[in-house]
């Protein structure tokens, strides 16, 4: 069909990768973003991007191991075919980024240098100084600008996506959006719309994410009928710098290089930290995990820090929760050499030198594993079928989702440095799928009646005008946002308990009503940030409810979702025979739990609240196995488990 066009919402890594690939395939692209694309949130990523590489191969690594690490890290909640395909493509994606000019760090011989990240034994992570995300985003931005100069891509910067337009048969045939300067609301026709709008950290108030990460684009698609998957899985990073405006990430390497985490034994001790004697300091991680000390994995560190402040009342400060992350015992020269870059960040934002004063840190919401539910077409080899219009499509035909805002790649927990990969991968993957979709669209967008577009525009215009004309003296949207953040942070971050979740839902429902009664302090129609924020705020509630309801329903522990009331117990028996029997029972319970809960949570919007259903996870390639970290008796359980698996494969072999 002639004059077909794809609209992409978002110019982070995912959106830009899709745009450049579509352009290369000869498709006309419109790309819309709240911010100039070069200022998208992806610039914040510091650590790096994963792939199997020449050096790791020498050490015995391969794509399958990267695949296995990713699903094991995700506690087996990720569908396996997309992950397999992504990890197979990872080396080629790094090659492409390298060819596009990313200033990756180099080895002496001029090859890419790599570092090691959590959740793997191999040095798979390529990096560019402390700004890998920025460097990756810039090369993609440059490529899209190249296509723009050839007229293949048209970029609409400073536009707010207000939702998809659906034709009579339910197919997406465009979207409505608003110009942030003129406040004009306009309908855009498109033969497919791709949502690449990133994460939704702002529903938690403050997080490590950027200010446009409100989830608004996702919520607006969700409210129009796109399902949401695994909403309850939110990654919390153990060490962030609490700020009045944002919680800034403090890299794991601070602990890696010898940083010690502690609180004064006396709550809110008013002495300066360095004058508090050793005997009056509580190094709680070292005390509780003598073996791993300060280097316990992310989720454990997060829970302990949270616990010591919230439940044990030992926060360093009154009225604000934080613990010390102390590097002051290490030589300055050593700190500069190993941690220079990240210490400068602390200094820049706190105005305090962490070489002289212990840093104050607290866990912060960091990544949303859940997102818009998307489909895929499995290939004969267990990976994905490239060019299938099913890949990355949401529940709404013609509406696609990629990047952090889809739910597909990270299961219950994301491995560090895997996200930049999934963003670029899903962007490249969706392009040929869209080409095929364009061949089979039921009706070209150009042939849809203009009344359809006008009606959709009108609907959004009415909502906008109503908001502007609300009587004064109503609720303040900024204060409601703070309250929403507090409720979610309390009930649905690190530790989750059903009574708290129930209470959280009640509060969110109440706040949702209050948010509907907001008054604006700016009622003008020129660069009105007040009304844009209020709309984004109102659209946070469907996502907040998705997180809470999903978490309440899921009575188990999996990945980032930790419910102590349903945790798998340690072994208690000492006598070896008893212990094996206990381990057998443990494995029975584990298998029972897999049957019951190894399922994706699918949320559907019902107009005023969410409804949950569950979907089987494709585990056809790697059998789910227990994650045993920190359990007493882990060795015995593992032995019993291995025997079971061996027996099962024997049986399968004989019956086959």
């Amino acid at each position: 069909m002639p004059n077909q066009k794809v609209m992409i919402i978002g110019g982070g890594l995912a959106g830009l990768a899709a745009a450049m690939k579509l352009a290369e395939l000869g498709v006309d692209v419109d790309l819309m973003s709240l911010t100039p694309v070069k200022r998208s949130h992806s610039v914040c990523a510091q650590g790096g991007i994963n792939s199997v590489n020449k050096q790791t191969r020498l050490a015995g690594d391969n794509e399958w191991k990267h695949f296995d690490d990713t699903v094991y890290g995700g506690d087996f909640l990720n569908h396996q075919p997309p992950v397999k395909e992504m990890t197979e493509w990872a080396p080629r994606i790094i090659d492409l980024m390298d060819r596009l000019g990313v200033t990756f760090n180099r080895t002496t011989e001029g090859f890419l240098d790599h570092r090691r990240f959590g959740g793997t034994l191999y040095k798979r992570t390529a990096f560019a100084g402390a700004t890998t995300g920025q460097q990756l985003l810039y090369v993609l931005d440059e490529q899209v600008r190249r296509w723009q100069s050839q007229g293949r891509v048209k970029v609409y910067e400073s536009w707010d996506y207000l939702g998809p337009i659906l034709a009579d048969d339910g197919t997406c045939c465009g979207c409505v959006a608003q110009d942030l300067a003129t406040m004009e609301i306009r309908s855009f026709s498109a033969d497919a719309v791709v949502v690449a709008s990133g994460g939704c950290g702002l529903i938690f108030g403050r997080s490590t994410m950027s200010m446009v990460c409100t989830g608004s684009a996702v919520s607006r698609s969700f409210q129009m009928g796109a399902d949401y998957g695994n909403g309850e899985f939110i990654q919390v990073h153990p060490t962030a710098i609490p700020g009045a405006d944002k919680l800034r990430l403090m890299s794991e390497s601070a602990r890696g290089e010898g940083g010690r985490v502690w609180v004064p034994s006396t709550p809110q001790d008013s002495r300066t930290p360095r004058s508090i004697p050793e005997a009056e300091r509580y190094y709680f991680l070292e005390d509780r995990y003598p073996e791993y000390g300060n280097l316990v994995p992310r989720d454990i560190a997060t829970r302990e820090i949270f616990n010591i402040c919230v439940n044990e009342g030992l926060s360093v400060e009154q009225g604000r929760q934080c613990v010390f992350l102390d590097l002051t015992h290490i030589e300055r020269s050593e700190l500069d050499r190993k941690l220079g870059g990240i210490l400068e960040i602390y200094e820049k934002f706190q105005g305090v030198d962490p070489r002289d004063h212990p840093m104050k840190i607290f866990p912060a919401v960091h990544y949303s594993m859940g997102g818009l539910w998307v489909d895929y077409q499995k290939s004969g080899s267990g990976g994905l079928q490239w060019g299938s219009p099913q890949n990355q499509t949401t529940k709404i035909p013609g509406l696609y989702a990629i990047g952090e805002c889809d739910y597909q790649y990270h299961g219950a927990n994301r491995l560090g440095a895997n996200s930049l990969l999934s963003c670029i991968f899903s962007g490249l993957l969706v392009a040929p799928s869209l080409v095929e979709w364009l061949k089979i669209v039921p009706k070209a967008a150009a042939d849809q009646p203009s009344s359809l577009y006008e009606a959709a525009r009108q609907e959004r215009q009415v909502r906008h005008d109503k908001l502007l004309n609300r009587p004064s003296g109503g609720e303040n949207p900024y204060l409601i946002h703070e309250e929403l953040g507090d409720v979610l942070t309390k009930s649905a971050t690190v530790v989750r308990r059903n009574p708290q979740l129930e209470e959280g839902i009640d509060k969110v429902l109440e706040l949702k009503d209050r948010a509907a009664a907001c008054s604006l302090s700016d009622t003008g129609n020129w660069t009105n940030q007040n009304v844009v924020f209020t709309k984004a705020l109102q659209d946070m509630f469907p996502l907040a409810l998705t997180v809470l309801r999903g978490a309440l329903a899921r009575d188990e522990c999996r990945g980032a979702h930790f419910k102590p009331d349903f945790a798998m117990p340690s072994l208690k028996c000492e006598e070896p025979g008893e212990r094996i029997r206990e381990a057998e029972a443990w494995c029975d319970r584990f298998e029972g739990n897999v049957d019951k809960w190894l399922k994706s949570t699918i949320a559907t919007w019902q107009g005023d609240d969410v409804e949950l259903s569950y979907e089987e996870v494709d585990t056809s390639l790697i059998v789910p196995r227990p994650r045993l970290y920190g359990l007493v008796g882990a060795d015995v359980i593992e032995e019993v488990w291995k025997e079971r698996v061996a027996k099962r494969t024997d049986v399968e072999a004989t019956t086959a």
Partner: protein
Amino acid sequence: MADTSSKPDHFEVRVLRQDGPQASSYWERHRVRYEPDMNVISVLQRIASQSQTVDGKEVSPVAWECNCLEEVCGACTMVVNGRVRQACTALVDRLMAEQESDIELQPMSKFPVQRDLVVERRRMFRGLEKSKAWVTVDTYGPMGAGPRISQTEQENNYPLSQCMSCGCCLEACPQYTKVELVQGDSESDDAFAERQDSTFDGEFVGAHAISQVMLFNGHPIAKNDANERLDSLMAPGGIQVCGNAQNCVAVCPKEIPLTTSIARAGRATTVRAITKFFG
């Protein structure tokens, strides 16, 4: 460490406001409650939430731009206490230590004001387009790894690749002057954008773009387009406009060696001019 005992309960912020493009600007005073670890962004957040001046007058929230709050996106550039910088790294404690009186916020003066502290910096991105600041590759298909690059080359290029198009270098540059066009009543968006672009192209591109030219001309593949980039720097609005005042390098938050890039670009364009003359 921030010693809160010596801090005031409240402090005042003077903001230079402007309701829309070409509208006249006016100062407005706000009072904000002091909190530890504040930066100018959190000050603006409080102002938005209060929407009230010092005298209790109800006003619309001050408009400003930001995103990353980590000084990597370049969105939040403004003039704080007379100095162009990022609002997110402008810490209130530091500002108070530097200057006893109020905090003063103004939009950048080299770009058209859209509203209050929000300015339109499209001209910077046009500069990148004009300079062909990209690597031209055959295909995005799997073709193996890129060229080998030595550690020294990487160390030279990495600083240049950190330019976040924030605009500080342009605000500080005496040769970079504001271009503000008005869309005609019957002029379409596309026609207006085209007219803007051709006007921008005749005006100085600025240090950031010159530096990007040197970044790409130093890349083993991108240097295939080196001559075209140099030609763009020799056209009107190119490097000859630079008066070598060196203000740019002093204000770059990423400490990009802009004057080194400018000097290198100067030599390269001279060589290019001579070759063209004899070629």
